[in-house]
Symmetry: C2
């Protein structure tokens, strides 16, 4: 039957330089849909959760999804998973651009990379053919140059390339994977790729993605586009400002973080980093494949040092190179963004880690003897920029910071852990959880660590009342809301997959019914709405099983101390904190809503309900149930 | 008849946004062959030599040539001409890469750009169709980003783009035009493009270049490839080291310039900037279209400030950011190269201008009050790098330097002119003329100013005895040699066109006979060897006519004072200088060999011999004969 599944899984072994193509099983498709469903399930099935993430036993798994490469809008998304070297938990990222659909065009629903090459290589996948090509000469190149060099090397400018920069080669646990100008950004997946001696993956595909039921798909697509048009913000605001408009939104409710979250609410970013202030730097938009929105904001600055710098900073980059470092400069944010993209560093973890170091410096916990003589005060833009290449190259103080705040604070000691703000080792996103409690609970319980992308509580930031209105400061009800956000987002954004911004900005468009109709008509499978929702729930359960087996405990679901003990001192969220008691109230409500026990471990009945018998067995074998 | 000429000239008027396509005249082809022959002849025919080069009256003219886009090796070359804003003379550059053949594939033997757009535009030429596209958003982007943004904008990664960077937009008279990683580098052609509000030219062609006589062409090509293989240096050395190997060659004969030519011969560059020392930075080669040599040396450095920097410095970049600034660092040379390419600055003029400023600083003629507080001593690599963006953006001291040494010394005054080393306003190349006299005479008499590419005296540097052996220190005979070098190089490298390195490194390969056979078999025209040589001579005569009409005099053919009055103090060329008397001996011999009068003005008999009646009339009207 014609279907938007390509029907094939490509498995590449870097150790022995072999590859094979096996059929996609209908069971996997029915239970996990695609994207993160495929990659996380495969991770749990094939990778021992106890392994060292930078060993040859880890796998790097890519899957776009059944909607990718079809005419469905905003579906050029791809999940990348491995055991994260930063968190020790499931490391799952979504990325966009054009690479995700090229993987489909080459004929694959999933790409599994195993083992470790003895020398630097890059992969060239041209439809059914895979070449292992020497990459020793590419090592050290930045991600922009690397992509172009590979296109020139292969004599085909239409190839799409995902690659790592020096940060990934140097195994920075903040290293990302870059394709075009997009990143599989967080959790150190770039270091996993680096540990495999894999500099890049070049893909060119010439196959067509099929559609099972053309007319039904056309209708479903039309409904989706109509719903997107009806969004009050998607085209009017998101196209124009992109995610950086969130600076204004988070400031308005007093949760735009400043100075490593020590002065949230005090510092007014609107005139310098806000959406209007950003416009004068904008020179264009960037679009993923088949996206009518184009949220990517190409921004240009001229620097007396760096020359002409074109960046594409998202909100989170404004947060981490702006607010949380106390740096008040578009020029610095845009330059830092470009430097990180070139070097293959996650902007969020990198900025948050520099902010952590700044607080230590301000408090006298570290001094210029350790910082390579850099004056590391909050707000020092040049100091921030100076640290970025050092981190990527692991030079001097950069070597201490290169693996994020948790490891840096372990190395520094001296009570510095108190200022290392992370959950499961992943640095905090740009939402002060004290003023947006479901954000806090989402960061606590996301299977990837303090991740804003697994359960974005748009209800608290944009006031969109789906599934129901919510008080952002309330504690009660956040467990239920977070479960809903996680499950729906998991299936629609991470498995189908469709762009998360459709969910945040145009919620009705991405409702379960629209997803169901698009998926059913493109794949030919017949999911009910309930089954669609269950796929999201199933994903969150298997990811939790992996984390439990990897040794993570309830304590890994806790908020950093600062958010429990220190109140926000100024602004709209003044006086807010999340005392331990409240934190546990939210957490327990969440566990209950999930059908997990008080320690956050999935119960037998929940796993049976979800048809996860094998996962149940794994927990039993580990003595966890 | 099938021919490697496409038969069409594309003329684009930016003022009224119109274009037309007219047939190539056989007369132009027979008398000027292609490339620089076409562009310089058109410049003289259509542009008043008295105009302001940055006015709308100037034209920017592109022509590859009859061999470009054929299977002839190393023929992806293109001439770009305009009246130069830096010299006031003919501004003619050759460039390579892939853009030159794409112009052919689009169907054109010449592209003439006229007028001036009222707002920033870029051109998109797709075969017969030309679009004028808004470029206001592209202004300020660097040349690498600009090329990618245009490909993305047009949705075609196979487009080739030639563009300017911020330097060209800011009308720096040292601004170049960049296509891919190649530059039409010198004489400020980037400023001409900037003055027309033209950010870029994007070309995509789908036509085939014909061949008049297939079998004869195959045979001629085979002979050429065989001759290239027989070169003792082309594949063994040029592929491996590229032009930077010249550092070793010029050092060996004591003419590698140091510290603004004040200490040539004293400073030993081999261990730091020499060919062997360069190898550890090399990560790959870059190739122009259909080139089997690949002389482009891709070199990578990691910088704590700039990150991962990939440059492709030629010998002249080593000279101008190495020796002549006294900077002893591969890292600095490679970084400066990349910065200049991104910003669209000619590396040679930029480095030489910084070296000029360094000498003024060392001599106390300028101080930190004027240098933006930069300590501008010879050898200060960071100071050199700091000036590059300032020059491109015309910021602070950069505004004084942005138009090269002649204008900078006029602005600074205080006897600084003495250290402004240029001929006709074009800064000196990396060969101290005192130790290689034909180089000196070549720089003096090149119609483009102190240009090593119009008559490279390979005989003096590499000892290749064609057409005859020569003593590099002798004065006598250099006039005859220089005329020969200029005429042969003009026709083979600038008109046919073939890569100049074939002439420098594999001279027999590019002998007149091979050129004739390739040209005759591809075009179907029947040139004799004598006619081929005459085309080169004709080009040098019409260029001289333009320069005379533009107001240049015999004095513009003089060497800078330093080379006449100061001896080289150390090394293999110790004691050498070119006293005014010797300089005039060489110059007069050259004029005689050319059949020009004692003031360097072409005579009636010479112009008649070359069939240049119209040019004769121009000189008569101007009262010059």
């Amino acid at each position: 039957m014609t279907s938007s599944y390509m029907g094939n899984i490509l498995r590449i072994n870097l150790t022995n330089k072999e590859y094979n193509i096996t059929p996609l099983s209908v069971e996997l498709a029915r239970n996990f849909l695609g994207g993160a469903g495929f990659t996380v399930k495969t991770l749990l099935d094939e990778v021992d959760p106890a392994i060292d993430p930078l060993s040859a036993e880890n796998k790097l798994i890519f899957s776009s999804g059944p909607l990718s490469g079809t005419a469905a809008p905003c579906a050029s998304r791809m999940s990348v998973s491995a055991k994260s070297p930063l968190t020790g938990a499931v490391g799952m990222c979504m990325t966009g651009g054009h690479f995700p659909v090229e993987l489909k065009f080459a004929g694959y629903d999933m790409l599994i990379i195993e083992g470790r090459s003895s020398e630097p290589v890059y992969l060239y996948i041209k439809d059914d053919k895979v070449s292992f090509r020497k990459a020793s000469k590419l090592m050290g190149t930045n991600t922009f140059d690397c992509q172009q060099l590979i296109k020139d090397d292969l004599g085909d400018q239409n190839i799409r390339v995902a690659c790592i920069g020096p940060a990934g080669e140097n195994l920075s646990k903040m290293a990302c994977i870059i394709n075009e100008r997009r990143a599989a950004g967080r959790k150190g997946l770039g270091a996993v790729m680096g540990s495999k001696n894999l500099k890049a993956i070049a893909i060119r595909g010439t196959k067509k993605v099929g559609i099972a039921r053309g007319n039904a798909f056309k209708e479903a697509r039309k409904r989706m586009l109509k719903a997107m048009k009806e969004s009050p913000v998607l085209y009017s605001q998101m196209s124009k400002h992109g995610t950086p408009m969130t600076v204004d939104a988070t400031w308005a409710i007093g949760i735009f973080p400043a100075n490593n979250f020590s002065t949230t609410g005090e510092w007014e970013p609107i005139n310098t980093l806000g959406a209007q202030a950003s416009q004068k730097y904008k020179i264009g938009s960037s679009y993923c494949y088949n996206c009518p929105v184009g949220c990517g904001q190409l921004k240009l600055v001229h620097s007396p040092t760096y020359g002409s710098i074109l960046g594409e900073p998202e909100y989170e980059t404004y947060y981490c190179f702006g607010g949380v470092t106390g740096v008040d400069s578009q020029e610095a944010v845009i330059t830092a963004d470009r430097l990180c993209d070139e070097l293959g560093l996650d902007t969020m973890s990198t900025g948050a880690t520099i902010a952590f170091a700044m607080e230590l410096y301000e408090r006298g916990i570290i001094d210029r003897d350790i910082t390579d003589n850099i004056e590391l005060n909050f707000g020092n833009a040049q100091a921030m920029l100076d640290l970025i290449p050092r981190i990527a190259f692991r030079e001097g103080f950069g070597a201490i910071l290169a693996d994020g705040v948790r490891i840096a604070s372990d190395k520094i000691g001296k009570n510095s852990q108190k200022y290392a703000l992370h959950i499961k080792g992943l640095e905090m996103p740009g939402y002060d959880p004290r003023g947006a409690k479901a954000h806090g609970l989402g960061f606590m319980t996301a299977y990837t660590g303090a991740d804003h992308n697994r359960s974005y509580a748009f209800q608290e930031v944009f006031g969109i009342p789906i599934p129901y209105a919510i008080d952002r400061l309330a504690i009660n009800g956040k467990g239920k809301l977070t479960k809903w956000n996680q499950d729906i987002r998991s299936v629609t954004c991470d498995c189908a997959p469709m762009c998360a911004f459709l969910m945040d900005m145009a919620v009705p468009a991405i409702a379960v019914e629209n997803t169901r109709d698009l998926v059913n008509s493109s794949t030919g499978l017949d999911f009910t709405s309930k089954e669609i929702e269950t796929i999201g729930e199933r994903l969150n359960n298997i990811a939790k099983v992996f984390n439990v087996l990897a040794g993570l405990t309830k304590k890994d679901d806790y908020l950093p101390e600062r958010f429990r003990n220190e109140e926000i001192k100024s602004g709209t969220s003044k006086g807010q904190r999340i005392p331990e008691e409240d934190m546990l109230l939210m957490l327990h409500e969440y566990y209950r809503e999930r059908g997990w026990n008080e320690d956050g471990i999935p119960t037998r009945s929940k796993l049976e309900e979800l048809g996860l018998a094998r996962e149940m067995g794994l927990l039993e074998n580990a003595g966890m149930v």
